[in-house]
Amino acid sequence: MSDNKMAVADINHSLYDFKDIENEQDFYRMEEGLSRETVLKVSEEKNDPDWMREFRLQCLDLYNRIKMPNWGPSIEGLDMDKISSYVRHKSDMKGKWEDVPEDIKNTFEKLGIPQAERESLAGVGAQYDSELVYHNVRDEVAAQGVIYTDLESALRGEYADMIKSHFMKLVPPTDHKFAALHGAVWSGGSFVYVPQNVKVDIPLQSYFRLNAAGAGQFEHTLIIVDEGADLHFIEGCSAPKYNVANLHAGCVELYVSKNARLRYSTIENWSKNMYNLNTKRALVEDGGIMEWVSGSFGSHTSYLYPMTILKGEGSKMEFTGITFAGKGQNLDTGAKVVHQGERTSSVINTKSISKDGGIGTYRSSVIIQSTAKKAKASVSCDSLMLDSISRADTIPGMDIRTNDADVGHEAKIGRISDEAIFYLMSRGISEEDAKAMIVSGFANPVSKELPLEYAVEMNNLIRLEMSGNG
């Protein structure tokens, strides 16, 4: 146990919350606020094709017309007039770490991204503020025909038509106000295409760092896993903490073809001034499998409900998620699934921990349409309250439109049992360590779904939060 105590003491609490001072001369920063001019300026910066410029303007119009959500956490503290939609380093995206500007490279070195690339990843994309600064994929993976590139390049290259036919088709800008905002000012993000029957054995990763204060990050991730292919994609995100609001309104669209499998893992540790209004959605064809692994630790306010549309017969979805809401955080997370095809199945398994006045809300929807005969859905959500100044709410919804389906739902809210703490303390473990152990055990179903390095990172985050230094 003494080793564990050392591990807690040894954690560098500034692991994510370090500020690299951005030299103004090296960065281009668009003025705060949102207008037709700012949208056109972003489009110009991106050298958009005409259709994309028009699309952005249509999205701006939608953004101005769509109302704020009438449910969920307050986002009154988010003032778009104080958010810069676009900040980029003046250097271009690089294919080698040594070519990345020194200050940015230092940031990603501290986050361990190059090391992870060397040791355990098939490819890495690193976004700093609004633009990708580094993108690389291993030669042997590229040789399999796997495309992993920044979305802007893909928009103008060989895959331009594929992008056009998929971009914001799964998450239309009419979906909600911040989907429209994303459509208007999106920048950065990745495009992945895995050809038929190609199995990528080790994961690809995109890491998003929002370093600028008072800025928004609007990256777009588009992944197409073709028939019989297999991919694990990892997304990481962090930011230093500022006293002004930052906004993340990214969008992830995932297409899982017939008999393909996609695992999408996220460890989100945005700073606690971040409004995380991200939208993620997957469409799964016959026999396809979509697996989500999601850890939400950061952000001031989150609205995050990855959605899966099980369109194809026999398609499957599994969502495993954990949310840790600490002081000052209001994290509204969960999952959505729509069963359309016959014999589709979904399993949602979430854990939520609330501490130091944090608010953790599990919110979900399970929709079984009349076409989804013999569908099966199972939801299990557990919440753990670590004190009485925090809050844990569970707001699941189910809409079932066929009798030929099997739906089960269970939820529990409670605290760490005194007996369990007493038992551990009787074995010589301090109360604080006992609680940390129990919380780690509670999170175990999630961490065991992650690659080892990321499971360790997640457990570190839990320890940080438990020690009050998260």
Binding site: N70, W71, G72, P73, S74, N330, D332, I359, T361, R363, S365, S370, S383, M385, L386, D387, S388, S390, R391, A392, D393, T394, I395, P396, G397, M398, D399, I400, R401, T402, N403, D404, A405, D406, V407, G408, H409, E410, A411, K412, I413, G414, R415
Partner: protein
Amino acid sequence: MSSDFELKVNVLPVTTYNFLHVNESTIKISDLSLGKRKSTDEAELPSGVSKKSGVSFGEAGKVFGSFSGRINVLADGYAAPNGDTSERDKEQAVRTGMGADVDRLMRDMNVTSDVYTVDEGVKADKPIAISDKYEDGEMALLSYVIHAKKDSEITVILMESSERSAAGLSGISVRLMAEDGAKITLVKTQMLGDGFVHFYDIGGACLEGAGISLVTLELGGCDVHSSAYINLSEDNSAYSSNLAYLARDDHRLDFNYVADQRGKKTEALMDFKGVLMDRAQKTFRGTLDFKSGSSGSVGDEQEDALLLSPDVVNRTMPVILCQEEDVEGRHGATIGQLTEELLFYMMSRGIDEERARRIMVSARLESVARLIPDPDIMQKTIYYIQNIL
């Protein structure tokens, strides 16, 4: 008096995705014209129980006002942070499941209340059974207040029925005040005709050690709203709800049951089971709300919905809100059809499939009907279930 009304009712305690269409429900009433309904079977009250009729709806609610400091209906800091809807029912004497629009309707239509008061320490020796048999085309709004004084016990049974082919409107408001140690059991069996719009709106408050038990059978009617909001205001108070429902044809059922747990060591147990057939639609909202200070409390909410047709629509919203560490809250839902194994078992015993289904469905509903403490009403209800299936 004649008028049109549109009521916004059954508002979820916290709003959620609009596309689920569960945040609220609407009742439209056209040409509301109330006749003079005289409920029957209430002539002989148990000793120690008194009844005052003709009390204005507002006046009848004053019994809750005299405990306002203890019921503490809407204290600051209790609102759920993400989409709390309590503000809209602030004006209610006691918060009810359907909400303030029902109160407004009752007041606008000058509905008077029957107020039953059970004297301190009195354990009523028999239930009060109130029966309403409606005529075709009849419209009625009824209001009851049941006030159980300290350490008293009372059971009230409501039976609402009509011919199966009848149409009309039946709206009932019941407000329950259980003082320290008092126990109120409220039973309702609803067997209205296929053209009836029916609503049943309950609001209740329990002081220290008090208990409210609800037994509800919603078996008829074409458009039914049935809801309860029970305030477990003080320590060791308890609430239980057993509800069975049957929806057929194009009928619509809409529920909103809330346990608001504020006292220490409170207990809320809610069990809902029902059957949807044909093209019926049902929305069920069930909420356990553990407020700050409710340490040691437990809440359990279970729903078991049996779907017997490919055209039914079942919406379920089992919500837990929790602002207290030392509580145990659980909810579970099972939604689907009869399992093949069960049918096979029964068929292997010589019961044909159709009969096996009927047995399983009626057993589900009868398990709640058997909780009715009046043998005559219980038998009538079971007979109705067996006939309608």
